[in-house]
């Protein structure tokens, strides 16, 4: 059983009053048009003996709303159509839908302009006339739209209620009686709040790709940290570990008075792996591993190198390492490439030259006569920036073994450096 409340041309206050009235009876409410509210009244049979009693109860509740129409029907669509077409209280019993809708105008079903013209030309103005037509004839002449309209006119086109859901909050807060100074007891609170948030996410079939923690400090300020993942997860343990690592790296500056954990909901991750695909690090475990590596060597030293669009020697960017499902490039190198091991930063060196040719190299841990060399190769770029580069490079082989790339800065006071050794 469904009930419908309708007020033509309602104001905002009337709409709110209609909604409040509906909420007295059911939490499952749909406002399909302004002033047209239909709600699920199934399960009210113990309170109200039949549809008439229910309709009377609703009408009493909506007595303060001027012009409110009430309809109780077995189907949401029938309830809405009857409420819009009839004044006062209407009760449609099961099996009487067609009879209840028969005297109502066709316009209530909002047919398309073309269909309305056709029906008008046929002399059909009310739902009863349309319902009396044969189904096959309607289907042949008016198509799918006409058939749907015919079923609506007979009250046989059922549709489910689409209730409006309240926005769900995926956050949890805990107020402390005494200020918390250590991170260890905080982790117990975080575990409890994260479990609460993650179970709420699971109940809604969601996951989170960002977790925010807001700590109210004794100083009155808020201390906020957030963990953003490249995938959605609802693993409370993984979130807790990540937060512990993050908070130990960035501890709050004062004792904590309140803890709030909020999750950004997202669709859960769906992965289809193949039998013959090489193994990849598990996404949740990888995040923990990266966080732990970052705690050891610094987060800026862990990642995937990316080559920028620049000719600057040794330029690279550290990007966050993520496991992606992109296809691996095909290996088409037919020759082994000579690699270089870079000195970061470049080693200052002294080079003895004869007629512009390098003859001896001296740097930290590197010393020897140059037996063969190639160069100089001039390279320069980004002259418009303060950190432009201009230098002459040589590849040099030392008498005691070792093949190095050295360079001299092309500045007013040239300096020599060892950039790296070929290995």
């Amino acid at each position: 059983m469904y009930a419908c409340l309708y007020v033509p041309d309602p104001s905002d206050a009337v709409r709110a009053a209609l909604r409040a009235c509906a909420e007295h009876f059911s939490p499952l409410i749909e406002e399909s048009a302004p002033g047209l509210i239909v709600f699920d009244a199934r399960g009210l049979g113990r309170l109200h003996a039949d549809g008439h009693a229910l309709a009377q109860a609703i009408a009493r509740d909506a007595a303060t709303i001027a012009g409110a129409r009430v309809c109780v029907a077995p189907d949401p669509h029938v309830a809405m159509t009857a409420a819009r077409g009839r004044v006062g209280i209407t009760v449609v019993q099961s099996g009487e839908e067609a009879a209840a809708l028969a005297p109502l105008k066709i316009d209530l079903l909002s047919p398309s302009e073309e269909l309305a013209e056709t029906l008008a030309a046929w002399g059909i103005g009310i739902l009863g006339q349309l319902a009396a037509l044969p189904q096959h004839g309607i289907s042949e002449r008016l198509g799918a739209e006409g058939l749907a309209l015919w079923r609506m006119a007979r009250g046989s086109l059922s549709r489910p209620l689409v209730p409006e859901s309240e926005p769900v909050s995926f956050s949890a807060r805990f107020e402390l009686e005494h200020p918390l100074e250590l991170l260890e007891p905080l982790s117990f609170l975080l575990a409890r709040l994260l479990n609460d948030v993650c179970s709420r996410l699971a109940a809604h079939g969601l996951a989170a790709n960002e977790i925010r923690v807001v700590l109210r400090l004794e100083t009155g300020s808020d201390f906020e940290r957030s963990i953003r993942l490249p995938f959605a997860s609802r693993d409370a343990q993984a979130f807790l570990k990540l937060l512990q690592l993050d908070l130990s790296a960035h501890p709050p500056s004062a004792p904590i008075l309140a803890v709030c954990v909020a999750a950004e909901p997202a669709e859960p991750r769906r992965v289809q792996t193949g039998l013959f695909v090489p193994v990849a690090p598990d996404a949740e475990k990888l995040e923990l591993t990266l966080a732990r590596l970052g705690a050891i060597v610094g987060a800026e030293n862990v990642g995937s190198p990316e080559l920028p669009d620049s000719h600057r020697p040794g330029a690279f960017r550290m990007m966050k390492f993520i496991v992606n499902d992109s296809a691996a490039p095909t290996f088409n190198n037919t020759r082994q490439q000579l690699a270089i091991r870079l000195c970061r930063p470049p080693l200052p060196a002294q080079v003895i030259t004869e007629h512009g040719r390098p003859r001896r190299l001296m740097a930290r841990d590197i010393r020897g006569d140059i037996t063969a060399f190639a160069g100089p190769w001039r390279t320069s770029g980004e002259w418009w920036r303060p950190d432009f580069w201009a230098r002459d490079e040589w590849d040099v082989e030392l008498a005691g073994g070792g093949l190095y790339r050295i360079y001299r800065t092309a500045t007013a006071t040239p300096e020599w450096f060892v950039e790296g050794n070929y290995d």
């Binding site: 598990d282 390492f321 050794n421």
Partner: protein, 221 residues
């Protein structure tokens, strides 16, 4: 009389060795693969040699081969010497490479390697100690290597350690030594030459019965 537990242990070790012997990751270095099949999975491989011996060229070629097979690789760079441009030129897919820069701290490098091996899921874990002085690497407790060996066995991960001198020793299933490479210059004039490449030599030290006593690789600039 042999103890039954010892017999069982030796049998399981033999079975493990047999299984591992059939699982290698190709280096795509033709000479290397012909002689040693590649780097073994579930075991530690030691690649030793001085500067300019060709170690880095071999491991970058291996990196390119592994990433092209879809493997995810982790490089623990103890001295921040890795050049992504060289690796990209060798054909490595840098998006499949996790680079951990340890800033010259071998203790951090060992801790990071431990974390990565225990996390699992990696095709290749490369530990580059090539520019750490030998007397510093010698101070690393041998228990680290045993820990790595136990953690990596029965996994599809190949662990490769690059050093100046062999330190992993008993814990390595494969050890390859590379003496200084021969540098090849093109051109005959002493002042007008171009670096053509290097010819390196690989001497397998372990397993003892390798197919070839030594073989050469050529890296081109």
């Amino acid at each position: 009389m042999s103890h039954p537990l010892l017999v069982r242990y030796l049998r399981s070790e033999t079975q493990l060795q047999d299984r591992l012997s059939h699982s290698y990751i190709s280096t795509k270095v033709a000479e290397f693969d012909a002689a040693l099949q590649g780097f073994p999975r579930g075991a530690i491989t030691e690649l030793t040699g001085p500067a300019s011996s060709g170690r880095t060229s071999v491991f970058q070629c291996f990196l390119a081969a592994a990433t092209s097979e879809g493997e995810y690789c982790a490089l623990i760079d103890a001295s921040n010497t890795f050049d992504p441009h060289s690796a990209a030129a060798a054909g490595a897919d840098l998006k499949r490479l996790l680079w951990v820069r340890c800033g010259g701290n071998p203790e951090h490098a060992m801790q990071c390697t431990d974390r990565l091996i225990h996390a699992g899921g990696w095709g290749v874990v490369l530990l580059d100690l090539g520019d750490i002085p030998a007397h510093v690497v010698r101070r690393i407790p041998i228990s680290w290597w045993y820990r790595f060996r136990r953690a990596v066995e029965n996994t599809p991960t190949a662990v490769v350690v690059i050093e100046r001198e062999p330190f992993v020793r008993a814990c390595a299933s494969m050890a390859v030594e590379m003496p200084p490479a021969h540098v090849v210059w093109s051109g005959s004039h002493p002042d007008f030459r171009i670096l053509h490449g290097t010819v390196g030599q690989l001497r397998p030290k372990k397993p003892v019965r390798s197919a070839a006593p030594s073989f050469k690789t050529r890296a081109l600039a």
